[in-house]
Amino acid sequence: MKNKFFPIFIIFVFISIFIIFYKGLQDTNFYTPETKVNNEIPSFSAELFYSNKIVNSSEIFELNKFYLLNIWSSWCMPCRQEHSLLMDLTKNKNIEVIGINYKDTKINAKNFLNELGNPYKKIIFDKDGTKAIEWGAYGVPESFLIYNNKVKKKYIGPLNNKIIKEIRFTVK
């Protein structure tokens, strides 16, 4: 009796292990932090890129207005790709684009903006990357749609036409 069921049991065990591992292969194990929607924007003091003034984040964002906060850097290739889309977005009067310059030197960043144009109303200079952490970001590029001091949406990675369309639709 025992001998009869034993091989079947072993085969069953191996098949179930195989299925588990096979499923595991298809799973991506990259973790992306959960996007908490309607989260209050963080409050911090930051240095502005051009004027070198120290401001509080609450002075940058006004109520009843849409903002797109874009974290960028001159050394980041995807930022270069999405830049034309940001330039396009500046034509829209309902939204302002705010930049966070992430771990960059001012010379490189200025060259980048001179070459591709400056879509940003204001730029926060984030030399050591700590301001981006306040936002819960972990790389470049990342964008946040902000309304009434709340994060409405978070976009990880470069923006694309579909996202821009979505943003346009939201701010209308």
């Binding site: 194990n29 973790y31 932090p33 771990k103 990357g129 700590t130 952490i133 936002w135 819960g136 972990y138």
Partner: protein
């Protein structure tokens, strides 16, 4: 008198060193307990990525501002979620993780004790 002064100066230097070292130990402990989100399977302490380096700077800043270890953990948990901590809390999502080893231990114990009882018979 001179010797006393010198002694005092040396004493102060060493005592400050100790303070700094103490902070360093806590910082290392905290960064070892934080997961680097862009490098898989590495702690912030082990990693040299841009993200991890900024996190280290921020932990340093928070410690200097007088944050406690727990406050720093909850600060990062607030920003990035539970995943950033290497020590997940016991809740409805993690109870299997915590209870499975105990369960396996009990089942194993049951099997062993059962086979012993059978042998005795």
């Amino acid at each position: 008198m001179k010797i006393l002064k010198l002694f005092l100066i040396i004493f102060f230097i060493f005592s400050f060193n100790h303070l700094k070292a103490n902070n360093e130990i806590i910082k290392n402990k905290i960064t070892k307990n934080l997961r680097c989100l862009i490098c898989q399977g590495q702690s912030v302490y082990d990693s040299d990525s841009e993200f991890a380096n900024s996190l280290k700077v921020l932990v340093d800043k928070k410690l200097n501002e007088g944050f406690s270890e727990k406050q720093i953990y909850s600060y990062f948990k607030d920003k990035y979620g539970e995943w950033i901590l290497y020590d997940p809390k016991f809740n409805k999502n993690t109870y299997i993780l915590w209870l499975l080893p105990i369960l396996i231990f009990l089942i194993g114990g049951a099997i062993i004790s059962k086979s012993f009882i059978i042998k005795k018979k």
